[in-house]
């Protein structure tokens, strides 16, 4: 018997829309849990934001990861970053990061900011990938644009996504919107996400629940664990 997830006590409806889903059709997305976004000396801290806010979802995500691994759920990690020669860095993105005092590609306490291969670009140890898990490198906020994520999901027969990561209103939301347009049934977890501005975290979660769940649903990691049938 394959384990299933659902119905999860979520807002605005019991997730997923089709009642429950076998775990082999679910992927757990861990978005951009990188030192640059939640570690000391990374990009977000260099911009002057409080990393306690972006780290807040780490313990719950680590616990959910253990649960997902035990069930055999496909785990996919993403990393935002650019090639060392900056050939895939849009000019305006570079300009804006310079304006705010943390230029992408420039030197930082954790190596060149948001550059592939640098210490700051690595995923933090609490939720680091283990052997066999997929890692998707993306040049933008969305994990679908200019990546093989859609191909990986379709090849594995994935239809349902559970989203964790940072930041709620930027990379997680952009990815959820892309996934939703592609027909994936999405669930974002309020305790496994976080933003540089708590008000944006709250607003981003609220937006998901409008219009009958315009991008999917919101729940907590406990709700997912409680709705798992082995």
């Amino acid at each position: 018997m394959t384990a299933t997830i659902g119905p999860v006590k979520a807002a605005p409806y019991l997730w997923p829309y089709d009642g429950s889903v076998p775990v082999d059709r679910v992927a757990l997305l861990c978005i951009d849990w990188q030192t640059d976004f939640c570690g000391p000396g990374g990009y977000v801290e260099t911009m002057g934001y409080d990393i306690a806010l972006t780290r807040a979802g780490l313990p719950a995500t680590a616990r959910l990861l253990a649960h997902a691994r035990a069930l055999g759920v496909l785990v996919i990690h993403t990393r935002e970053g650019h090639d060392p020669d900056l050939s895939d860095l849009p000019a305006n993105k570079r300009w804006r990061s310079a304006q705010i005092g943390a230029e992408i590609g420039g030197p930082g306490p954790c190596g060149r900011i948001l550059i592939k291969g640098e210490p700051g670009w690595e995923i933090v140890p609490e939720v680091a990938p283990v052997a066999g898990e997929v890692v998707v490198d993306k040049p933008g906020k969305g994990a679908f644009y200019a990546t093989n994520l859609d191909l990986v999901l379709r090849t594995r027969g994935i239809t349902h996504l559970i989203l964790t990561g940072i930041t709620t209103d930027v990379c997680v939301h952009t990815t959820m919107r892309e996934a939703n347009d592609r027909g994936y049934e999405c669930l974002i977890l309020s305790d496994c996400t976080g933003a540089t501005d708590p008000a944006n975290h709250t607003a981003a979660l609220h937006m998901v629940t409008m219009q009958g769940g315009v991008f999917g649903c919101v729940a907590t990691s406990d709700d997912v664990i409680a709705a798992t049938e082995v």
């Binding site: 305006n92 919107r177 347009d181 009958g212």
Partner: protein, 215 residues
């Protein structure tokens, strides 16, 4: 180069590589008695954007600059509507303006006040974002800057701006030419665009853009 007073800072654009994007100003979303209102939404919140947008369109067209319209909708047989989306909404059902959000129906088309002019492309999209499963990126060859207008601010406008930003386009969202059914999301949606040094782009009022075009 024209430079518009914007948040988080001045927005400069070269008119020869700039297009105006008008997102989903469709009857289904905007007309009283339509799909939007049937969901319990206050359509007057969206209609506030119509007049400023019509004024901007007139100036923009007079300057000979490109306009691209989008419409959200699905094939009559619903073959391009994801099951999860179908399960959540009224898509394909009969409404006062024809089958809701179905291509070719009266309600799916753009409101009369903002009707596309001859030669202006209309991009039909199955999702919230205007780049996914459309030819918008091809239509934008040679374009670097996008002036973004339309509805709704936090759903289709935001998704499209996020897609455009990842593709390297410089987006200016016009606060008075976009609309949300919910004032709170209008405010937060615009704030998110200009946050963190303009993480998705810039925000300005249409009057400041018009001033620059007419200069």
């Amino acid at each position: 180069m024209p430079t518009v007073d914007a948040r988080p800072g001045p927005y400069s654009f070269d008119p020869s590589s700039t297009a105006l994007l008008v997102i989903d100003m469709q009857r289904d979303f905007l007309l009283p008695g339509g799909f939007g209102e049937s969901l319990g939404n206050d359509v007057s919140q969206l209609r506030r954007a119509v007049e400023p947008l019509a004024a901007l369109l007139a100036v923009w067209r007079a300057a000979g600059l490109p306009v691209i319209h989008t419409r959200e909708g699905h094939e009559p047989d619903l073959s391009d509507c994801p099951p999860a989306k179908l399960a959540r909404g009224a898509i394909g059902q009969d409404g006062p303006y024809g089958r809701i959000l179905i291509r070719g129906e009266y309600g799916h088309d753009i409101i009369d006040e903002l009707a596309p002019a001859d030669g202006e492309p209309v991009v039909d999209k199955p999702g919230k974002g205007a780049f996914y499963a459309t030819d918008l990126d091809d239509l934008l060859k040679g374009i670097r800057s996008l002036i973004v207008t339309g509805v709704t601010t936090e759903v289709c406008v935001h998704t499209t701006v996020r897609e455009a930003n990842d593709r390297g386009y410089e987006c200016l969202v016009l606060a008075d030419c976009v609309g949300s059914y919910f004032p709170e999301f209008q405010r937060v949606g615009l704030e998110m665009i200009a946050a963190q040094g303009g993480i998705f782009g810039w925000v300005a009022d249409s009057a400041d853009l018009i001033k620059e075009i007419q200069r």
